[in-house]
């Protein structure tokens, strides 16, 4: 009973904290698990979403295992998000390289965060294709690949400031942006453009913000 009360108290403090600071940084929600990347990331805690949380978009997405999942199920740890598509030959491999570079830093710092790729080509990026991509690129447990119908993709793109357009040759022109969402789904950082210098800054933002 005492333990339950303490838990409730902690939860209430958490709520109050969030109300005072809509853009509450990830630091408040550091999960207990210190071995992300090697072991499983703790299950989502589904906190009440703030007024600016992107996780308020409540139409379900489909992940690389074929399971439906809400964006809110990503809550609990910070998330790196990029919008790409698996058949992309031009800039997506560079986005992937940037994200892997960030991941290395996260692993070094034992920092729990997820990496989410949202498909800009939902027609071709079926769960099977996403799953094969995950395997082919040797992506760790941190990674979640998601697809959804076009209208949902457009909504996320609008929120993340990603412009994209299908070209007649079957490619998708798109902005190169890596976004950081805090544990509550608030947009707290964006890396505009790609490259080692920029991705190092993104990694530093995440890790330093936490300490």
């Amino acid at each position: 009973m005492t333990r339950l009360l303490v838990l409730l108290l902690v939860l209430c403090v958490g709520c109050a904290d969030e109300m005072h600071d809509e853009n509450a940084h990830a630091g408040h929600d550091k999960p207990a698990n210190e071995h992300a990347g090697h072991t499983t990331i703790p299950p989502p805690v589904e906190p009440a979403l703030g007024a600016m949380s992107l996780y308020q978009l409540d139409t379900p997405w489909t992940d690389h295992t074929g399971s439906e999942r809400s964006l809110a199920s990503l809550a609990g740890v910070p998330v790196l998000v990029a919008m790409t598509y698996t058949s992309c030959q031009v800039s997506c491999p560079v986005i992937l390289a940037d994200l892997k570079r960030i991941e290395t830093r996260l692993n070094q710092a034992d920092f729990a965060a997820r990496i989410v790729l949202l498909s800009l080509d939902p027609e071709r990026d079926s769960p099977e294709v996403l799953s094969a991509f995950l395997e082919d690129k040797n992506l760790s447990e941190r990674w979640i690949l998601l697809r959804a119908p076009d209208d949902q993709v457009r909504e996320m793109a609008a929120l993340l400031g990603v412009s994209y357009r299908r070209t007649p040759d079957g490619e998708v022109s798109h902005s190169n942006i890596i976004s950081v969402l805090d544990a509550g789904g608030n947009l707290v950082y964006q890396q505009l453009g790609l490259g080692a210098g920029k991705s190092d800054e993104t990694a530093l933002f995440l890790v330093n913000d936490e300490q």
């Binding site: 457009r154 929120l159 022109s173």
Partner: protein
């Protein structure tokens, strides 16, 4: 909704890699823009889209401000097209109605139909009528839906009543993107636009494209509404 047969239309703006005529598949489109009453029905069933509940992420302060309250229209007429709705709200409404917003290509394709032809863009009289409707002063009270003559497809009020959201209104605004056609956004604006534009006669379309280019998805404006569309199952 009525069926719009597939066809092509001469795109006003295009990237260097795009064909001069864009093809549009057959689809269904609403005869009229969504009205205040219809949007009220949606809001009553979906409380998170009430004026007092909506997240600032999804709608600016102007959202539904012309209604008397969260759940009453007041002086807003039930049959007026709903305005002061953001793109996110329009998307949510369309999903609720088991529909979607039309694409820019679909919208422009339908907007090009005169009362007698699927493509009125070579008809100077039609173009002049569209331009005068588009330029009509915006100060007066908003008209009601259903009062204008239908076009070739049986669709009303594509011109002159309200501006309308499209699903991909922002897709032409490609900046810092991956494939090097960043000249695109430049083309949305006056001077530079003339070089990339393919059709100099349809000035109203210029206005629409530049209007869309200035929008952001949470914006809500007093002359901006939407209508819904639906895809047809692919022919088997």
């Amino acid at each position: 909704m009525v069926k719009v047969e597939g066809g092509t239309y001469g795109a006003l703006y295009r990237a260097p890699d795009e064909p001069s005529r864009i093809s549009v598949d057959a689809f269904l489109m609403a005869v009229d823009p969504v009205t205040n009453q219809q949007f009220l029905d949606f809001v009553m069933e979906n409380p998170k889209w009430r004026r007092s509940n909506v997240s600032p992420l999804f709608a600016s302060e102007a959202y539904l401000h012309h209604w008397a309250s969260d759940s009453t229209l007041g002086v807003a007429h039930p049959e007026q097209p709903v305005t002061n709705v953001s793109w996110f709200a329009a998307q949510a409404y369309a999903r609720w109605a088991d529909a979607r917003l039309p694409t820019v290509a679909e919208w422009e394709y339908v907007a090009g139909a005169s009362s007698t032809s699927a493509d009125g863009r070579s008809d100077p009289e039609f173009l002049a009528g569209v331009l005068s409707a588009t330029n009509a002063p915006g100060g007066g009270p908003l008209g009601l839906t259903g009062n204008s003559p239908a076009n070739y497809w049986g669709i009303r009020d594509m011109h002159g009543l309200v501006w309308e959201w499209t699903s991909d209104f922002n897709s032409a605004l490609v900046t810092g993107e991956s494939r090097g056609d960043s000249g695109l956004d430049r083309k949305l604006f006056c001077g530079a636009g003339v070089i990339g534009a393919s059709d100099f006669t349809d000035y109203a379309a210029f206005l629409r494209f530049s209007y869309r280019g200035g929008l952001s998805a949470s914006y809500a404006g007093s002359r901006l509404g939407f209508r819904i569309a639906r895809s047809l199952p692919p022919p088997s």
